[in-house]
Symmetry: C2
Subunit: 354 residues, 2 copies
Amino acid sequence: MKKKNVKTTILDVAKRAGVSKATVSNYLNGRYEKMAEETKETIQKAIEELDYIPSLSARRLSAKESSKTIGLIIPGNMAHVFDTMYYPIVFSTVGELAEKEKYSVLIYAQNSRSEEKNIEYLMGLAKSMVDGFLITNMTVETRFFKEFERNSIPHVCLGKIEDIDDYQFVATDHEKAVELAVDHLVGLEHKQIALLTENKSSVVDDVRRKGYRKALKRHGIEFIDEYCHSFSHEDIRKNIQVYISRLLEKVDRPTAFIVPASLLIYLKQETERLHLNVPEDLSIVCLEYYKNNFGYVTFQNKKYTRVESVVDNVCKVAFDKLMEQIHDPSVEFHSYFEPVKLLVGETTGKPGEK
Amino acid sequence: MKKKNVKTTILDVAKRAGVSKATVSNYLNGRYEKMAEETKETIQKAIEELDYIPSLSARRLSAKESSKTIGLIIPGNMAHVFDTMYYPIVFSTVGELAEKEKYSVLIYAQNSRSEEKNIEYLMGLAKSMVDGFLITNMTVETRFFKEFERNSIPHVCLGKIEDIDDYQFVATDHEKAVELAVDHLVGLEHKQIALLTENKSSVVDDVRRKGYRKALKRHGIEFIDEYCHSFSHEDIRKNIQVYISRLLEKVDRPTAFIVPASLLIYLKQETERLHLNVPEDLSIVCLEYYKNNFGYVTFQNKKYTRVESVVDNVCKVAFDKLMEQIHDPSVEFHSYFEPVKLLVGETTGKPGEK
DNA sequence: CCGTTTTAGTAAACCGTTTTACAAACCTTG
DNA sequence: CAAGGTTTGTAAAACGGTTTACTAAAACGG
C-alpha cells in the first residue's frame, strides 16, 4: 500500500538510470536496436525501483493516437433477451477482438432517461472518449443513426432493423435461415410445418415469421396461424409445454418443426412424453446461432438438422468493419449478412417414413 | 461526411476568433466571468466553423486528470446467470452512476485464455486505462484480489465469496435473507419449510442453503434433504415443474416455500394446477432482489410476503466505495452487507388456517 | 595512426491542453 | 488629468511523453 502522491515520470527514471528521456522512451517502446545490454538493465531497474507507470494521456497526446476505445451500446433493460445467449456472446467476442487490437470496450447501457439525454451523452463520448460505436440491434433508437451520420462517427449496427435502410449493419439473415429450413422440409414432402420462436415481437422474431410466410407462399402451402407461434419471455416460463403438447396432440398436427436452439428442450420434452419418434413421426430443424448451444446438440443421440449462422462471426465482421471505418473514414460501407447454411442431420426425414 | 485529415486545435480556434489560446480554454471550461459577450460569440462561431473537438489526452495530461474510467469485470461465459436479472441490473445501475460522476465504464469479459493472461491484461489496464475495478462475484479468480492488493489498485467485489475473507466486498446478505424467511415462517408455526433456489452451486446458492440450515437448526427443525433443492440452468428448463409437483403431492408436503423471484412462476403454476390455496394450504415467501421483478409481484392478487434486498443499492454502495478508494487510497475499506428486510404480505399464514 | 563507419545515446522540438502571473485599455473619481 | 479599479485578455510555462536530427566515442580498415 504505498502512497504515491507525486507521480514518477519518465524524467525521474531517466535521471535515476543516468540516461536521457529519449533512451527510456526507446526502451519502453521496445526499440532496443541501439541500446547496450547494460543500459537496458539499468533502466529496467530504475523503473521497478520507482514503480514507474507511463502516462497514457501523455503518450497518446504525443503519439497522436486516439483513445483506442469503442463504445458498445446495449439496452438498459435486457429482460427480453434472457432467453438467448446473445449478449454474453457479444460481450466476450467483442472483448476478445478488441483486446487483440489493443482497443478497449466501453459499455453504454441506455438508461431510462430521455432519448435526448442519451444522444447527448453518446455524442459527448464520441467527441472525446470513443472512436466509434457498436450498436446492438435491440437497442436501436433510429435517431442514433442520424446523429452518428451527421457527425461522421463510425458506427456499425449488429443486426438489421426492418423498415430502416439507410444505415450500416452486420446481421444474421434470420429470414433466409427460416426459408432454408422450410425449403429443406418441403423438399422432404412436408406440408405441415410449424415455426416456434422466442423473443416475441422482437425484430428477429418478425423477420423469422416473414421468412416463414414467404417460403410457404413460394411453395404454395397455406399459412396456418396455429402452426406459427412466438413465445414471450413469460410464455416460455408459463405455458410453452402446454402449447407444444396441444399442437402435437392435434389430429392434423405438424409433421415438422422449425425451432431455435433455446426452445429445443421444450419440444424434446413433449415429444418424448408423447412417445413420438424423430424423424419418423416428427422432423425437427434447429435454428442455431451460437457455437456452444448449451450442449443441446443432439436429440436422442441424433444430430440435429440445423440452419447455422454463428453470432460470433457477425460480431467479428462488425468489429472489423468498425475498425475499417475508424481507420479510414472515407471507405464505403456495405451492410453485410452473415451466410446461413443448412446442415442436414438426422432429425429430418420424409413424413411418416421409417 | 467531411474528411478532416488535420486535427483542428485550440490554436486554430484562437487564431480564427482573434483571441489567445487561454481565452478559448476559458470559454471551453465555462469560465465566462471575465469575458465579453461578444468574445464568447466569436469563439463559439469559430468552434463551429472549424468543427473543433478538444483533445481529451491533452486535456487530461494538462489537468493531471486520471482516465476517469472504471473497469467492470464480468465472466466470459454468462450462461449460468441467465435465470436472474443480475447482470442487466449491474450494467445499467453502474452505468448510470458512472455517468453522473463523469466516469466511463470499461467492460472486461474474462476470456477463455489462461488466468495468467487475464491478470496480465487487467494489470495493464489498471496501469493506464482504468482507475479501479468492480468485480462481479461470479467472476472471481482469487488471484485477482492478491494482485490488485499488491499493486494497490482500487477494487470492490460485488458479492461475498465464501472461504475468502481478506478482500473488500459489498454484497447482498443472502444468508440472512433466508434466515429471516425461515424465522417468519416458524413464527407462524410452520415446520415443513422448503427452499428452492436457482443457480445451482453458485456462491449465492451455497450461502442461501447455509442460512436455511442454520435457521432450521436454531429452531430445532430437522433438515430434510428433499425440501431443499437447487436448480441448475438446465433443470429449470427441463424438470422444475416435475420436481415441484412431486413435492407438492407428497403426503407430508411442505407447508411453506421460500423461493427466489425468478422461480415463483413455476411454483405458482403447480400450485394452481393442484388447486392449492395460498396461504391457507401453502405459504410462500419470495426472495426478491430486483426492483422490477418481471412484474410477477402478486399471487392471485395477493401481495407476496417477501424478503427484500435490492441489488441496485448494492451496486450503488459498491460504486461509491470504489470512488472513495480511488479518490483517497488511504481510506480504510469496510466490507458491507446490504440490509435485508422482511415485508409481510398476504401469501403467508399459519399452516392449515383459513 | 588517421579517416570512416558504426554504435549508443542525447538535446530539443513538439503534441494540445490548462493555468498562473501579468498587463493593456477603459472607466472612475477626487 | 493622474491615480487607481475594472474589465478583458494574454504570454509562457507546465503536463509527460515521442521523435527527429545530431554527435561523441569506439571500432574498423588500410
